[in-house]
Every structure is written in C-alpha cells, then in structure tokens.
C-alpha cells in the first residue's frame, strides 16, 4: 500500500503497474458457475434445466429471444440453477456446470462478420465488452477506444494482452472495422507498450502511468480532448470503450471460429506479489487461490478488481466473471477501516479530485441524504469514481461509497418517477 510520504506536501502519485506479469495456465476446473443477468422481461430459467448437457462455447439463455446470455466455458452438465443477487441488488441466475476434462466445442458460432453475430455471441467475452451501444441507433458511436491500460492499480491483464496477443487484437480491430460503422479506432497504452500496440493497426495513443489517467472519462479528455458531460456515459458522447482483452477475444473468435472461454486474471497475495493466471470463465475463486498457494483467513479482504475500485466480497466460491480482472487478497491488519468521524474540511480531497468536484461540500450533502441537492449544487454526476478522495481522507469517511450510494439512490428515484408517468 502506498502511504503518505514523509513530506506530505508532495502528494502521493499512484502509479499503474506497467510491467505485465507472466501468465500461468490453470487446468479446467471441476465445476464452473456462470452468472446470467436477469433479462429485462423478468427472470426465470426457461429453457435451462438441471441435467442439460452443455458444450464448450455454447450460448446459454433463458429463451432464444432473451437478450441476456452466457457462454459455457466448459463441456458438462448443468448441476444447479439458483437465483443470486449481486452488488446494488442486481439479479442473476447462477448456473453451476459440472465440467468434464475434455472440451467438446459447440458449433453455434458462425464466422460471418456482422453486428448481429457480435451481439449474439461476444457480449460474454472475457473483458466484458460493452457492445450494445454499437447497435443502438440512439447513440451515434463514431469511435472505439481499445484500452490497453488496466483501470485499476496492480492489475496487468490488458497490458499482458497487448504485449502477447497483438495478432488477436489486430484481427479484432479488423473485424470491428468491418462490423461497426465507426470512423476511428484507437488503442491506448502506457509508453512501454507502444511498439506492440502499433502492430495492431489501431491508432496508438500513449497514456500517463499515473492513476487515474487510465479511466475512460479521463482518456476521453486526454486523448480525444472531449469532455463527457455530467450524468452522461462515454457512449452518449459517441465512444465505445473496450478492453484490450475483449478486442483480442473478438479477434480470436473470428480467426479460429471458437469463442474464447478463458480469462486472464491478476492475482495479488497478501505479500503484494502479483501473478497472472489464465482460467476458464466461471472458475470459482477458491480454485484460483489454491493454484496460487494463497490461503485466506478470518477478516481478510477478498477483493474482486483492484485496490482502488474493486469490491471486497464475502465468499471465495464466487466465480471469475468476464469482467473480473483482479483478485486481490489483503490482510485485516493492512486494510483501512472507515470511521464515522465528521469531515474536518482539510481540503485534501478537493485538491486531489481529478475532475475538481468540491468533495468537502458534496460529502456533507451525501451524509445528510440530500442526493438531489448534491447533484444540483455540488456536481455529484461529474464524479468519475476513481476513489482518490477516500484514499486521502484524514477522517477516513467512506466518501467513494457515499458517492456510489447517492448515484444509485438517484437512479432509483428516476426509475420510480418514470414508472409513475
């Protein structure tokens, strides 16, 4: 953990890890769990039944019309189906598949390069690409940015992919050019990976290795010179972000005819040593940790994602999802606890905020649950969720959590208003 330096006037500079760790391939697990998002038209498991045989690469959905699906990462039989609730009350169906060691590939995926194929088969690709916006007529997508920088500290998944899977990214760039009607495709990488990135055929842009310059909103500002307006997504501004891993998965699928079912994950132990592993999507975290010889103890933190933006979760039986870039284990002794101390107005957060939000005032409104005022007066919607305000808070207020909660509560209010109209 990076502490305040002795001379605190020099603000801490959190640097991304720009040297990708080597990858270790893990064997096929005995069982995988795939989390199927609940479709907009309700839950239910529909055509999925316990006992169904599934093949590797097979598309699993509640019904053929359903928008949401998962891609089976193993060959085997469905052994359990149960509802599961994720963070912010997102509903899923957890599909447990008992896997056999042998892969039997499903032949549902055809290599015709159309937007339909992309939406129908590649939304569950490793790297969790946001493809829906490409087909959304309401959004005028002109640019795709392939992000070779990992969004959080310590993680090196995308940097590994840029360094070692350039040919796949190139195939992905070519396929995306054909399928999506976009003018520009950029790839953003740290200085050290420019050479590898240049071979992909996308326009190379370098990023500073200082956190949080790898976050989409700041890349928009630094690379495109465009500011995403408060409350808008980057897609609203006409840009789709895709991790390098997702782009490589798209390329590999059209090159080989097989959907990619493995995912690179950075695993960081309590000693701070990091390694990359390649696992089947849906592998229980427990299997990953055992392979890395990491044991967990009472009151440890099991963080999915990185130290600045990841979520500390409650069970090592949760699976590796397409968007799980990191598994970070932190000892209770080194994990900072939040307090209920009030803000003392020291202004550290105001000075470190990359988008210049008056966090000292914002947090007062959020604590008092005045979310609408927080948005109208103190720029709640401008927040790009980097977590630096909580990182430097001398009162150790969970500012970042208040911000996420505030945004969530506002979204609930909007949903309720829309339902009443």
């Amino acid at each position: 953990m990076i502490k305040r330096s002795f001379f605190g006037l020099a603000k801490p500079r959190l640097q991304y890890n720009v040297v990708p760790d080597a990858v270790q391939d893990l064997p096929v697990p005995s069982k995988v769990v795939l989390l199927l998002k609940e479709s907009r038209n309700g839950g239910g498991t529909g055509e999925l039944k316990v006992g169904n045989a599934v093949k590797t690469g097979q598309r699993l959905a509640a019904s053929p019309q359903s928008e949401e699906y998962v891609i089976s990462s193993v060959t085997g039989t469905i052994s359990a189906l149960s509802p599961y609730m994720g963070t912010f009350a997102k509903k899923y169906t957890a599909i447990t598949i008992d896997a056999s060691a042998q892969d039997d590939w499903d032949d549902g995926f055809k290599k015709d390069q159309t937007l339909d194929t992309l939406l129908k088969f590649l939304q569950y690709a490793p790297g969790d690409p946001c493809l829906k916006a490409l087909a959304d007529p309401g959004k005028n997508i002109r640019t795709i940015i392939i992000n070779g920088m990992d969004e959080d500290l310590l993680l090196t998944v995308n940097k590994y992919v840029v360094q070692n899977e350039g040919a796949d990214i190139k195939a992905g760039v070519d396929a995306l050019r054909k399928m999506a009607n976009v003018e520009l495709i950029f790839i953003t990488v740290p200085e050290s990976l420019v050479q590898q990135a240049a071979a992909t055929g996308a326009d190379v842009k370098t990023l500073s290795a200082t956190y949080p310059r790898g976050l989409p909103h700041l890349i928009m500002k630094d690379v495109l010179g465009e500011v995403v307006m408060a409350g808008d997504t980057v897609e609203d501004a006409g840009v789709v972000f895709m991790s390098a891993e997702a782009a490589a998965a798209v390329g590999a699928a059209f090159k080989t005819g097989h959907l990619r079912v493995t995912k690179v994950v950075t695993v960081v132990g309590k000693d701070g040593r990091s390694t990359n592993v390649r696992v089947r999507i849906g592998t229980p975290i427990n299997d990953v940790l055992q392979a890395c010889n990491i044991s967990l103890h009472e009151r440890d933190r099991l963080i999915l994602g990185g130290p600045m933006r990841g979520a500390a979760t409650y069970s090592e039986a949760l699976p590796v999802e397409p968007g799980t870039n990191g598994i970070v284990i932190q000892d209770a002794a080194t994990s900072p606890e939040v307090t209920d101390y009030p803000c003392i107005n020291c202004g550290e957060c105001v000075r470190i905020c990359p988008v210049r939000i008056p966090v000292n005032m914002l947090v007062r409104f959020l604590e008092a649950r005045l979310y609408e005022d927080a948005r109208a007066l103190y720029d709640l919607d401008c927040c790009i969720e980097c977590g630096l305000c909580s990182y430097v808070c001398i009162s150790r207020i969970p500012i970042f959590q208040y911000i996420r909660l505030g945004k969530y509560e506002l979204s609930l209010m909007e949903t309720a208003e829309a339902a009443n109209e």
């Binding site: 229980p284 130290p307 500390a312 994990s335 900072p336 401008c382």
Partner: protein, 342 residues
C-alpha cells in the same frame, strides 16, 4: 435473537449460498467493504501530534524565558482543554473524542497566546470558551465556524483588558532586553517609540509578549515543518503574511512618521504564531485555492488595519474571526467541475 433474524433475511436475499458450497475447511468470514481498499495512512491524531511537535520550538523558548509560570500556563491550558472536552462528551453522551488530539492542540495554541502571568481562572474560562463555546456546541471537530483559540482570546481581551496589557503583566520580568510590549508602544507613542527594537531582535525572540508568540525563528521553523509535511494550507499562511506586509508597507509609504515598517508588523505581536498555527485552522477556513489566497490576504490586511487605525493593540483575533464569518461566502469561488453542465 435479532442476529438470527438478520441471518434469515440475508438467506432470503442470497438463496445461493456460495460459502457453504465451497466446503473447504471451517467457515471464515471476510470483511466486505467498498473501495478503495488502500489509504494513505493519514489520521487526525497524527496531524495534531505533528502540529504539537511543530509548536515545540516556540513554546520551549517561551518557557526558557518566563520559567515555571509559562510551563504552568501551557500545561494547565492543555489539561483544561482536554478535560472540558471529556466533560462535554460525557454530558451529551457522545463517544469520547479527546484521543484525536484536537483538544490538546487547541489548549496548546490557547496557552501560547497567553501571557506567562495569566491567572488560573483565566485559563479555565478561556479553554471553556475555546472548546465548548468555540467548537462543541456547534457539533464538535469539523463544525466550528470560528477559530476556537482565537475566539477565546478575543472574548478574554475584551473582557479583561488589564491582564492582556503585557507591559503591566510582565513588569516583574527582566530578561535582558526592553520589557515593553512593542505593539503597545507603537499604538500609544507612535513609530518613534519603537526605534529601539531592531528586526533581528524581534525575530530572535528578544521581545516581550505572549508565551508562544515571541520567538519568530521557532515559529517559522515549526511552520515550515508543517508546510513540508503537508499538514498546513500554506496558501493561507503565506497570503496572510503577504497581506500583512503589503498593507503595512502601503501605510508606511504613506506616512512613515505615523505608521511602523512592514517588517515590524511581521515580527511583533501575534502575527507569526497566527500565520503558521491559527489562520489555517481546518474547518473555519476555505479549502479551494483562490479562496484560500483571498482569505489569507484579507485577514492580513484587516490585521494591519486594526493595528494602525482601530482601537485594539493587536488586530489579530478580530481580523481572523471576521474572515471566519466570511469564509462560507469566500469558499464559493471555485473552479468549475470537469463535465459540469451549464
């Protein structure tokens, strides 16, 4: 009973029980937490202890000059401040906050502003004003609109003028330099009366005054320590000094026979202790860059205005308190957030 109920609820929410499915050894509970999982390690207590360390040179000088009475005032003031905070927390049933060191710092700074001869009841009363009236009735740390030690000083100066007449208070001391209070000389006899003070003597603490406010070098060293450690908003401190200097210079240029030189104003009275330890108090001063500069400069300007034109010998407590009141207004000047609409 209630915990059992909670468990049932959580199982209804999470029918899939991954923890049991894992079946690996004894059940362990992990700490579920929101990001970020790193912290720069700063705490309020660390900050306050650093302020105390930074104040030591000036305090030790004061004690070496005025002896045991000065030590008594400082120690008694810190103790009283902490006791008032404990008593208040007890009666309003708040968790004890004395451990964060902010009451101790308030007591120390208040003691530094007192003459060594301050009677015990003045300290008891002053720390009561600082801790209870200045901070706790507003809600405690982080909520005080005014600077607590300066509020206490201002109320005491108004109420007990005689005690803060440093000439009178320190008449039994002979420390080998002129034991008249420079600012009082200036006020009542004009610049001609302060010819005997040279700037180096003032800076090196060879002047009469409050316990912790006379040793300029020590205060500057302490201030630089806080500045480098990042515990002080240097923008406020430096703009305050600049405000004092520029305003005093303008007066001096206008009429040198009537108004003292800017350096005299910088190194006499409470100027330095306020600049490095009091004006940048957290909750009563701005957090944005431009407001910090305005706040400091205006406070410095007001200080000299009161000294040169006002009724009081030293304008410091009043100028800062005035600016504290204007702080919410000044701090509205802020840069536009990136992405803000309109």
């Amino acid at each position: 009973m209630s915990s059992e109920k909670k468990l049932v609820v959580s199982h209804a929410l999470f029918p899939w029980k991954p923890a049991q499915e894992a079946g690996t050894g004894p059940a362990r509970k992990f700490v579920v937490a929101h990001a970020p999982h790193w912290h720069d390690g700063s705490t309020i207590a660390k900050k306050n202890y650093n302020i105390m360390i930074a104040a030591l040179p000036a305090v030790l000088w004061g004690i070496s000059q005025y002896g045991a009475p000065a030590l008594g005032v400082i120690a008694f003031s810190m103790a009283c401040a902490m006791i008032w905070e404990i008593i208040w927390d007890f009666f309003v049933r708040k968790p004890a906050t004395v451990g964060d060191g902010s009451a101790a710092v308030t007591g120390l700074l208040f003691g530094m502003l007192m003459p060594a001869t301050a009677p015990w009841w003045l300290i008891v009363l002053g720390t009561f004003i600082a801790i209870v009236v200045g901070r706790q009735i507003f809600g405690g740390i982080g909520f005080n609109p005014l600077n607590p030690p300066l509020l206490a000083l201002a109320m005491l100066v108004i109420s007990f003028k005689g005690i803060f007449d440093f000439d009178e208070a320190l008449r039994n001391y002979d420390l080998g330099f002129s034991m008249v209070y420079p600012l009082a000389q200036l006020k009542y006899f004009g610049p001609a009366a302060i010819k005997s003070f040279n700037v180096a003597d003032l800076f090196m603490g060879r002047q009469a005054g409050a316990i912790g406010s006379t040793f300029g070098l020590g205060l500057v060293v302490g201030g630089l320590y806080l500045l480098l450690k990042g515990y002080m908003r240097w923008e406020i401190s430096l703009s305050f000094l600049a405000g004092v200097f520029v305003t005093a210079l303008l007066f001096n240029l206008g009429n040198a026979d009537k108004y003292a030189s800017p350096l005299f104003h910088l190194f006499s009275g409470y100027t330095l202790v306020v600049a490095f330890f009091l004006v940048a108090e957290d909750s009563s001063s701005p957090a944005n860059c431009v407001p910090m500069l305005i706040f400091g400069a205006l406070a410095g300007m007001m200080t000299v205005l009161i000294r040169n034109l006002g009724a009081y010998v030293d304008g410091v407590p009043f100028s800062i308190l005035l600016l504290n009141i204007a702080n919410p207004l000044i701090d509205r000047i802020r840069p536009k957030a990136i992405g803000k609409v309109g």
